[in-house]
């Protein structure tokens, strides 16, 4: 249930102790059975039903002394409890307002006050969990989401269940490991993604480990180090081993969210130093009406350490703008435009590319989701390539889909497929590439 509506409903409850509107003409005979019901319910301790019955008595016989006395007695007993309930509901409303304004400390205090009302424990716990998750207090967040996940409100319980899983996998210090295997129909590669037309299919094993540190939770500075490996069955010369790190700052405002990040990446190809890259990236998300706009820009200084690829060294820039829209809670659609530019030492390799993309994220079931993306990019090389005898113009159609399944608290499975179809005005540079694989991911918040 929408918590705002819940609170509004609680505050709007006219109460059983308000004025009674009598019928047009008194009817003491009709009041008699209500008196019996009221007395029986009051004796059984069911105040609400007794109040309703006594009110019906007074509607039919406004001067009924026992009904008036009973109503007065029951309502006096209710006054303190109702006042507390109203105060708790007001605290919840206040907490929501403060949360929207980004005043997290005050919001948490208000939500804690709302915990005193049993009816609001699930909703207040949910938002306390959200706040704890923001601050990186994953254990606290998990406890709050546990409480909210027992809510009779199915929507709230479902969202709390999903965030409980996230709380188990995040924290101020978190570790992720990923092991996988895939089939790649065309592993031959050059730094710009150019592949051989005939293709060279191979089996690939992948491994990744990443340590992330966020001392102040989802806000403020963060650091990340990672290592990865990609080994080939038939072409060990293309095995890639990499290590990298990033330092960044995250802003989590009431409207604008953003990050800026510096990173350093190192890659070895076939056991030989291959690439050293420095990168700087900024990203921002902001809601605009029913959609969320997300933009990012990155620049990367790449130095290839292998003589054969030195010409590719240079500056690479990328930018992207997307609009996200969620027509339902489980479905998010996105569409946008992305572009990139490469300024390489070998002038013939420099290019500018851009094109549209679209994506979707669909939660099939709790813990099971599918992500899909399709995009097309038109790449124009900026200089005439003498060996090729042409100025290249390529087109790339990319499509990918990933099915993610949370199999346990810290474990998930990923099945992925991808396709790239490359066309070129130099026919021998056109190719197709299919990839498909499975991976097992383990994530845990350590602190």
């Amino acid at each position: 249930m929408n918590p705002g509506l819940l609170v509004a409903a609680l505050l709007a409850e006219p109460g059983l102790c308000g004025p009674v509107t009598p019928l047009a003409s008194p009817d003491p005979a009709a009041a008699a059975p209500y008196v019996e019901v009221a007395e029986a319910e009051q004796a059984a301790g069911d105040t609400e039903t007794a109040l309703i019955a006594w009110r019906e008595v007074l509607r039919r016989e406004p001067r009924h002394a026992r009904a008036r006395a009973a109503l007065k007695k029951l309502c006096q007993g209710n006054t303190a409890a109702e006042a507390e309930a109203e105060a708790a509901a007001a605290s919840l409303l206040s907490g929501l307002s403060l949360l929207e304004r980004g005043e997290d400390v005050a919001a948490a205090a208000a939500f804690r006050e709302a915990l005193t009302e049993q009816e609001l424990v699930d909703t207040a716990s949910f938002f306390l969990g959200v706040l704890a998750l923001r601050e990186g207090r994953a254990d606290d967040a998990g406890t709050f989401f546990d409480a909210a996940a027992t809510s009779s409100d199915e929507g709230l319980a479902r969202r709390a269940g999903a965030l409980r899983l996230r709380a188990a996998r995040e924290g101020r210090v978190s570790l992720t490991g990923r092991l996988g295997g895939e089939y790649d129909s065309n592993v031959d590669l050059a730094p710009d993604g150019t592949r051989r037309q005939g293709g060279s299919g191979d089996g690939v094993s992948t491994a990744l480990a990443e340590l992330s540190v966020r001392p102040w939770g989802q806000r403020g500075p963060y650091a990340r180090v990672s290592g990865n490996y990609r080994g080939h069955l038939r072409f060990p010369g293309f095995d890639l081993a990499g290590a990298g790190g990033a330092l960044g700052w995250a802003h989590l405002g009431p409207v604008l969210q953003g990050t800026v990040e510096y990173g350093l990446d190192y890659l070895a190809l076939g056991g030989t130093p291959y690439l050293l890259a420095h990168r700087l990236r900024g990203a921002a998300r902001v809601p605009v009406g029913p959609v969320v706009m997300e933009g990012s820009a990155a620049v990367r200084r790449e130095d290839f350490l292998v003589t054969a690829f030195e010409g590719y060294s240079g500056w690479r820039g990328m930018a992207r703008l997307d609009a996200e829209w969620s027509p339902t809670e489980s479905l998010t659609l996105s569409a946008g435009w992305s572009g990139g530019v490469l300024r390489a030492y070998d002038l013939a390799l420099g290019f500018f590319e851009h094109g549209p993309r679209a994506g979707l994220s669909l939660d099939l079931n709790p813990g099971l989701r599918v992500l899909g993306e399709v995009g097309y990019s038109l790449r124009g090389y900026q200089n005439f390539d003498n060996p090729l005898g042409a100025r290249r113009e390529d087109g790339y159609l990319d499509a990918s889909a990933v099915l993610e399944w949370d199999v346990a608290r810290h474990w998930s499975m990923q099945a992925s497929v991808g396709w790239r179809g490359a066309s070129s005005n130099v026919p021998e540079l056109a190719y197709g590439r299919f990839t498909g694989g499975l991976a097992l991911v383990w994530s845990r918040g350590l602190f």
Partner: protein, 210 residues
């Protein structure tokens, strides 16, 4: 939908009720349909006092289910089955099953749900299948002595407060659960306690259906 069905069922039944009770049954049905279950309960109880040959007991029980008063609902259903067995239908059996489920009487719930099946429409049928699946998961393994102990203890508690029908419900569940264990844990004790009760609930299934 199920509320509407109750209302329609009620409209069909009121022809046989005394004239003074009819407006209260109708008003109760209106409250029930609109989700005001406490108001519905009051009107059905007034109708019961004015005399409805037992029909109002069914709706009192259904209202109690909606109000989360499962144990009282079980007693009301028992009264209704004795007073007006012909007034029962699949939808009311479904509410009865919900009361059993809420009171942790899973065997009772499963028996009723099995009888309901799809008889109350596809939407209820879907709920029936879901609940039965949940119950089946519970009984994948034999019940533990601890869980059977709980039913004995609850039966003793409610019996001490003068509620023999409810005590019988818990003891019948204890008998059923003991039957699922090879050692028949406390089975004889449950049967003996049942025999001493002054009143027993009406059989869950096998009554006439309109």
């Amino acid at each position: 939908m199920k509320r509407l069905a109750l209302c329609l069922a009620l409209l069909g039944l009121t022809a046989a009720t005394p004239p003074d009770a009819t407006p209260h049954l109708l008003q109760g049905a209106r409250h029930f349909r609109e989700g005001r279950f406490a108001n519905a309960l009051v009107e059905f109880k007034v109708a019961q006092r004015l005399g409805t040959d037992g029909e109002a007991d069914w709706y009192i029980a259904a209202s109690l289910v909606k109000l989360g008063r499962a144990e009282e609902a079980l007693e009301a259903f028992s009264t209704a089955r004795k007073q007006a067995p012909d007034a029962r239908d699949a939808l009311l059996d479904y509410y009865h099953a919900l009361a059993c489920y809420e009171a942790r009487l899973y065997l009772c719930a499963d028996t009723l749900l099995d009888a309901v099946g799809d008889a109350s429409g596809p939407r209820i049928g879907e709920q029936v299948r879901k609940l039965r699946a949940d119950i089946a998961v519970l009984f994948r393994s034999a019940p533990t002595p601890g869980s059977i102990d709980w039913y004995h203890a609850r039966a003793a508690q409610v019996r001490a407060t003068g509620r023999p029908v409810l005590a019988a419900h818990y003891l019948e569940e204890a008998v059923g659960l003991a039957g699922k264990r090879e050692d028949r844990y406390r089975l004889a004790e449950a049967r003996a306690a049942l025999g001493k009760l002054s009143e027993r609930p009406a059989p869950l299934v096998g009554g006439a259906s309109p």
